[in-house]
C-alpha cells in the first residue's frame, strides 16, 4: 500500500431473511358425477375407444373379454351388442347376458346383413 493511502473501512448490519414454505394448494374435490370425454373416436366398429372421466375413472367401452368382466366390479360401463337381425330375430346359438343397469348411451350401426344396437350400460 502506498504511503498516505486511505484504508477503506467496512461496517456490517446483520438481519434475517425468513420464509415459510408450504406444499401446493390441495386439489379441488372431484365432482361426484363424472364428466367424460372421448379421447379417440375413429368411428369404426371394433376400434378401441378411450374415455377419460373427470373422476379419474377410465371407462371401458368395448366388448367384454369374458363374462366375468360384465360383473359390476369396476362401476364402469360396457358395450353390449344384442345379436339381433334386421328382421328382429335373435341370432341362434349366441350366448346372452342379461342384467339390470342403466343405459347411459346407445347407437345403431349398420353392417351388411344386420343392424347392431349398441348399448352402454352402467350398473
Amino acid at each position: 500500500m502506498a504511503a498516505g493511502a486511505v484504508c477503506a473501512g467496512q461496517a456490517g448490519s446483520t438481519f434475517t431473511v425468513e420464509v415459510t414454505l408450504q406444499g401446493a394448494e390441495p386439489a379441488p374435490p372431484q365432482p361426484t358425477s363424472a364428466f367424460c370425454h372421448v379421447r379417440n373416436m375413429p368411428g369404426s366398429y371394433g376400434a378401441v375407444v378411450t374415455v377419460v372421466c373427470s373422476t379419474g375413472t377410465v371407462v371401458e367401452i368395448g366388448p367384454p373379454a369374458d363374462h366375468a368382466s360384465w360383473l359390476p366390479i369396476h362401476g364402469g360401463s360396457y358395450r353390449f351388442l344384442p345379436p339381433v337381425s334386421l328382421a328382429g330375430v335373435m341370432s341362434p346359438g349366441s350366448d346372452m347376458d342379461t342384467g339390470l343397469g342403466t343405459v347411459t348411451s346407445w347407437r345403431v350401426f349398420k353392417v351388411s346383413d344386420r343392424d347392431f344396437l349398441e348399448l352402454t350400460v352402467r350398473w
Binding site: A8, A11, V17, V19, L21, Q22
Partner: protein, 159 residues
C-alpha cells in the same frame, strides 16, 4: 500621633501593587478517522411470509431499515450484501426458494455537533432493505409445510 492618623486617612491614594498575567499559546491537534458503525438493535427480519409451492405470483417481503452511525458529514461509498449466504447483489436461497434483496439509497439524519457541554452525535444513515421471491418455485421441504425458516444476512457498507 497626629501624623500617623493622617497617613491612615490618606492611605488609599498611595500606589497599590499590580497583578500581572502572561499567556503561553499551544495547539490542540487531532486527526479524525471517519467511521461508520451499525446501530441496529433488536431483531430485524425480512419476512416473505408463507410461500405456497408453485404459486402464481411473486412474493414480496416487508421493508426493514438498517442504520449506521457515521462521522458527521461522512458517507459510505458503497453498500453490498454478504457473500456468505448469497451474493453481494442480494440474491440468496432459503428453504430452497430463491430471493433477491435490494437496498435503497441511504437517507441521512444529521447528527448534533459537539459543544463544550455535549459530545454530539453522528449522522444516521438508513438503508431500506426489502426482497422479492419469484413465482413458480418448488422449494425444498419434506413435509406439508416447513418453517418459518430464517437465514442470516448482512448489509456491509464500505467507507
Amino acid at each position: 500621633m497626629r501624623a500617623a492618623a493622617l497617613a491612615a486617612a490618606f492611605a488609599w491614594v498611595l500606589p497599590a501593587a499590580q497583578a500581572a498575567t502572561t499567556s503561553n499559546n499551544f495547539n490542540v491537534s487531532v486527526t479524525l478517522t471517519s467511521q461508520c458503525a451499525a446501530t441496529n438493535s433488536g431483531t430485524t427480519t425480512v419476512s416473505f411470509g408463507t410461500y405456497t409451492a408453485f404459486q402464481a405470483t411473486a412474493a414480496t417481503s416487508n421493508s426493514v431499515n438498517l442504520t449506521f452511525q457515521c462521522t458527521r458529514g461522512f458517507s459510505p461509498v458503497s453498500a453490498a450484501f454478504d457473500i456468505v449466504n448469497g451474493t453481494a447483489a442480494g440474491v440468496g436461497v432459503v428453504q430452497g426458494l430463491q430471493y433477491t434483496l435490494t437496498a435503497g439509497a441511504p437517507t441521512t439524519t444529521a447528527g448534533t455537533a459537539a459543544t463544550t457541554a455535549t459530545i454530539g452525535t453522528g449522522d444516521i444513515k438508513t438503508y431500506a432493505v426489502s426482497g422479492t421471491m419469484p413465482a413458480g418455485q418448488a422449494g425444498q421441504c419434506a413435509a406439508a409445510s416447513c418453517g418459518p425458516t430464517t437465514q442470516l444476512r448482512t448489509l456491509i457498507v464500505t467507507f
